[in-house]
């Protein structure tokens, strides 16, 4: 059996058996080695999310159990993603050709594209790495970077190159055996060839080495399975840099590892604070929130009507850039989850100012900050998200509600089973709200759509382009909805019992929901850990959720919290 039944053969989530009126479990049982799994049930969600009855035996989840020992979760071996590969060779070799763009895409996963379990290594992958390594090494040589002033003493000079370059590429000092082995390769390459050729052979192999392509952690070697082991400084530097920068540790981080400054939470926190100020971290924020809020779905989203400014790729890119700048600004100002969903400021260029119907406050053409756009507050009211979750001809409370339920509340509504979906057709004189009415009124649609539609309806003041409207099809917009099936709101099915009125109210209410805060923590955890949360991660998640709540939902503190958590600073091979 391969790795491919990622969460185990025995685990079948019987969607059809789950009434849609129940919150679906979002914590996966921990798979055993080899991808097959024990038939352990779904673990209790953190913080009293379930009783002891569903707990996987031996997995700590209560406050006492968590306090009694260190509990890191499973740490699958992580392969560099194509983007990480590109960034890494850019930062170490100065190569900006992005060779990873030629690599085959990873498998479609349920998590982020850095999900460790989405990677299988096949012939096309190793062929691509061979091609990339040959090209990178050849270019490095042509650029004269392998012509070293010390080459007169070839062996000593090559040894220095192997140690220095190897340390950057493997993100740790090389062992003596490795130096010997690579020196032998240098000798083979330079015999009958040149000094530079010998180094090219070395570089080519380093770029195909598992110690480069994977983020190898050897701390568990020789320890019994199930033992929590502290990571060494180099492993922590690597985890930090790929988490925050999607690239290799920079010189300062490697120096901090050399000086053993990463063995304490304080030492790690200091580096996190530094790294969060870099451009690379801003790219990470873009990447994370794009996958979280799905704003990339606006790219190429076709629309039926014609508007001014023209609905085209440039406008779609502008909308995405607005959201990127907004998210970055919230983080940079030490903002909270509340700010993310309610802050009134945003960023516009002249085109977006026209799109939003405001005056562009500057004379140039750049994006500038504006303190408010009428009727808008927070990420959910930005057109990238609104237009990306709409139909070509209609706003869609279903798509918007689905996104909120899935991304903000971490519950995936099941696909429709065994029913034929009648086409939903736009009609003149009928509001978008009314077009989808049958989803909410009739079975078999109703029991599942109650998970989605009431969360999306408060956004009805925004049309399929994300433009504000007070009238739809000649009728006043009804933007009432409700926080249905949310435990802290009573788990009601009738939206009127947990009412929400309009977009601003939606953002405010969502941000204060414990479920939403927990979900954001879980989502960041998935990104940092490279896998879906599992029972073994309960202690780390518990602590993070508590910290997030007591910080008032501070986003930068959540990132520091993740990087200093047990799950991040320790590892464990599963039993």
């Amino acid at each position: 059996m391969g790795l491919t039944t990622r969460y185990g053969l025995a685990i079948l989530l019987p969607w059809a058996a789950i009434a849609c009126s129940a919150e679906t479990p979002s914590v996966k049982p921990t798979p055993a080695a080899g991808g097959s799994s024990s038939s352990g049930g779904t673990a209790p969600l953190v913080n009293g999310g379930g009783g002891g009855s569903g707990a996987t035996a031996g997995v700590a989840s209560t406050a006492e159990e968590c306090k009694a020992a260190t509990h890191p979760g499973r740490t699958p071996l992580r392969r560099l993603t194509a983007a990480e590969y590109n960034n890494t060779v850019r930062d170490i070799l100065g190569d900006t050709s992005s060779p990873g763009n030629d690599f085959p895409p990873p498998a479609e996963g349920s998590g982020f594209s850095n999900d460790a379990d989405a990677y299988q290594t096949q012939v096309v992958d190793v062929q691509a790495w061979l091609t990339a390594a040959e090209a990178l090494a050849a270019k490095y040589r042509s650029a004269g970077k392998l012509t070293l002033p010390c080459a007169a003493d070839a062996q000593a000079c090559a040894t220095t190159f192997i140690n220095d370059t190897g340390k950057k590429l493997f993100r740790r000092p090389l062992t003596d055996a490795e130096v010997t082995s690579y020196l032998a390769r240098f000798t083979a390459g330079s015999t009958g060839g040149t000094f530079e050729e010998g180094l090219e052979w070395v570089l080519e192999r380093m770029l195909q080495s598992p110690h480069f392509l994977y983020r190898v952690e050897l701390e568990s070697v020789g320890k019994p399975a199930g033992t929590a082991v502290a990571l060494d400084d180099y492993s922590i530097a690597t985890r930090l840099s790929y988490f925050l920068l999607a690239s290799t540790p920079d010189a300062e981080l490697l120096a901090a590892a050399d000086a053993r400054q990463l063995s304490t939470a304080e030492g790690v926190a200091a580096q996190v604070t530094r790294l969060m100020k870099t451009d690379a971290f801003r790219s990470t924020l873009n990447f994370f929130h794009q996958q979280w809020a799905g704003w990339n779905e606006v790219t190429g989203a076709s629309k039926a009507a014609t508007i001014t400014p023209e609905w085209n790729a440039a406008l779609q890119d502008n909308l995405i850039h607005e959201s990127e700048l907004f998210v970055q600004s919230v983080f940079a100002s030490g903002g909270t989850y509340q700010d993310l969903l309610t802050a009134t400021h945003t960023f516009v260029n002249p085109t977006l100012a026209q799109f939003y119907g405001i005056t562009y406050p500057d004379s140039g053409a750049d994006f500038v900050r504006v303190d408010a756009v009428p009727h808008r507050a927070g990420l959910l009211t930005q057109a990238s998200v609104l237009a990306g979750h709409a139909r070509p001809d209609l706003s869609s409370a279903v798509k918007r509600g689905y996104m909120i339920r899935k991304s903000l509340l971490c519950t995936v509504p099941p696909p429709p089973n065994g029913i034929t979906i009648p086409p939903v057709v736009k009609k003149e004189g009928v509001t978008a709200r009314a077009v989808f009415e049958q989803h909410r009124a009739n079975e078999p649609c109703k029991s599942c759509h109650v998970l989605m539609d009431p969360l999306g309806l408060p956004l009805e003041n925004f049309d399929e382009f994300g433009r504000y409207r007070e009238m739809d099809q000649g009728q006043p917009v009804d933007a009432t909805g409700g926080l249905t099936l949310v435990a802290s709101k009573g788990g009601v099915v009738d939206p009127a019992e947990a009412p929400v009125d309009g977009a601003a109210d939606l953002g405010t209410q969502l941000a204060s929901l414990p479920e939403a805060q927990k979900c954001l923590v879980q989502t960041w955890f998935r990104y940092a850990a490279g896998h879906q949360e599992e029972a073994l991660d309960s202690c780390t998640l518990n602590a993070l959720i508590e910290r997030f709540a007591s910080s008032g939902g501070k986003l930068d503190d959540l990132v520091v919290g993740l990087a200093t958590s047990d799950g991040f600073r320790y590892r464990m091979d599963p039993q």
Binding site: L3, L13, A32, A33, L77, N417, G418
Partner: protein, 487 residues
């Protein structure tokens, strides 16, 4: 531009004359698998979203009347065998979205593995049982055929470089919806999706042919040594890791070994290089296909420009050349992934006999049961296959025979009836007799409930594989008369 490629020495004689082959093959190896003159070639041509019954061929036996879809292949009717009535019973036995299971079982004839993956998409067929699924089971027929061909030629150090080649028009992340070829249970094969990378891999990088023999030998030695040494690093590392991480590295080691064997075959195949590869494509892989929560493709811009047309043309050339150069004898061409949201704007107003709404992607047309649009789109695929057939007929192998003389194209859809998402009575079309094995210009009707494994078995036999049944061993997958399709 003609690219020199001395590194890739194909088993071909200058001027198309027959090259004397070493006759060392063992008697137990079917000739079709080994000897060049007998070589069988097959292209599995995959399309999706089902075909309306109204557009399919009708008839009985030698009376074959092409429907609107197959009119696109009318000029090759004398080489066409239409097979009606076969079910993808393996898909019916699987959990999961019928699109996905239909695609993943097309070439394996094995039901999908259990699992909790691939939840999105609608499940129409069997409420309750239709939950989630694991990967496809394997191996699939294309892969196994390739392996047998390589083994049969091992002793003589002849034969194709690749057991099989797998090409995809779209650049799709791996999922049950996008993988029909498997090397093992749960191990899907990643297809080549980048025409330029594929060209460089299969036909040689620009300039490679300028090397003298000594340089070429040194390059080969360097590649071999790096792959060997990386394998040693991997093996050493494996011994330190947990069982699940060991498995990840085991796949890596296996892949390196396969790559090494491929490079080895490339360097040792002797013969002169008379086969003509196509010009090096300028086209790179398309955007990585993204899907929204409902499973719909969201970035289909390539379709709407003429890039998709260009892509098909490039891959068609590559397929023909790969067969002519004996780079491989088995090709799987993913003309579209399952549940494809392909747009075909070029069909708008192209043919009055084939009207439709081409603002719609293929999958949406299927859900809307928009028969004119579906028929026009399938007809377009038929014309594509017809033009590929033209190319295969016009291109001679080193023995002087056309590539189709001992070959065939097998056109397979992941669904039968699109709107209902069924797997009963899927349309199956063969162009070419595969060395005289299959009937031609015939309409063959199988009785109800016959698994499409019978067709996979027939293709396996025609290719030279010694088997009485191909695919899974479940009760529903057995049976069906081979003689109905055999000439």
């Amino acid at each position: 531009m003609i690219v020199e490629f001395s590194r890739r020495k194909f088993l071909l004689a200058a001027g198309g004359t027959t090259l004397a082959l070493p006759v060392l093959e063992t008697l137990s190896v079917p000739k079709a698998l080994a000897a060049y003159e007998q070589a069988r070639r097959v292209i599995f041509y995959l399309t999706s979203n089902g075909t309306p019954v109204e557009g399919r061929p009708t008839g009985a036996g030698a009376s074959l009347t092409l429907g609107k879809v197959h009119q696109g292949l009318a000029k090759h009717q004398d080489k066409l065998l239409y097979i009606a009535g076969l079910d993808s019973r393996a898909a019916i036995l699987s959990n999961g979205d019928p699109h996905a299971t239909g695609f993943a079982t097309s070439l394996s004839g094995r039901k999908c593995l259990p699992g909790d993956m691939f939840k999105h998409g609608a499940c129409f067929e069997s409420a309750g049982a239709c939950a989630s699924t694991g990967w496809g089971d394997g191996p699939s027929l294309d892969y196994e055929l390739g392996q047998q061909i390589l083994q049969a030629n091992q002793a003589t150090k002849s034969g194709p470089v690749y057991g099989m080649l797998n090409f995809s028009v779209k650049n799709c992340p791996a999922s049950l919806y996008t993988r029909s070829s498997y090397s093992k249970p749960g191990e899907p094969i990643t297809p080549y999706a980048d025409p330029q990378v594929t060209f460089d891999t299969v036909f040689g990088k620009p300039g490679a042919g300028m090397m003298d023999d000594a340089t070429a030998a040194r390059v080969a030695a360097r590649q071999k040594s790096v792959l060997d040494e990386v394998q040693l690093e991997l093996t050493e590392l494996q011994s330190k890791l947990s069982a699940s991480d060991k498995l990840r590295l085991e796949q890596h080691v296996t892949a390196l070994r396969e790559l090494e064997e491929t490079l080895q075959r490339q360097s040792t195949q002797n013969g002169s290089s008379a086969c003509m590869p196509p010009a090096r494509p300028t086209l790179k892989a398309g955007n990585v296909v993204q899907r929204n929560a409902g499973g719909m493709e969201t970035n289909t811009n390539d379709d709407k420009s003429d890039k998709l047309l260009e892509r098909h043309a490039v891959w068609h050339k590559m397929m023909t050349a790969a067969l002519a150069c004996d780079a491989t004898r088995v090709i799987t061409y993913m003309s579209s992934p399952s549940r494809s949201d392909t747009f075909m704007p070029w069909l708008e107003g192209a043919d009055a006999a084939y009207p439709g709404n081409f603002e719609k992607p293929h999958h949406a047309a299927s859900h809307d049961d928009d028969k004119p649009t579906l028929i026009a789109m399938d007809h377009w695929y038929a014309t594509q296959i017809s033009s590929l057939t033209d190319d295969l007929l016009a291109t001679k192998d080193a023995a002087g025979k056309s590539l189709l003389e001992n070959g065939a194209i097998a056109w397979i859809n992941e669904l039968s009836n699109g709107p209902a998402h069924t797997h009963e009575d899927k349309p199956h079309t063969l162009i070419g007799s595969l060395g005289g094995y299959f009937k031609q210009n015939q309409f063959v009707q199988y009785p109800k409930n016959t698994p499409h494994n019978v067709l996979l078995t027939a293709i396996a036999q025609a290719m030279g594989m010694q088997t009485d049944h191909y695919g899974g061993a479940d009760a529903g997958l057995l049976g069906g008369s081979l003689s109905l399709v055999k000439a």
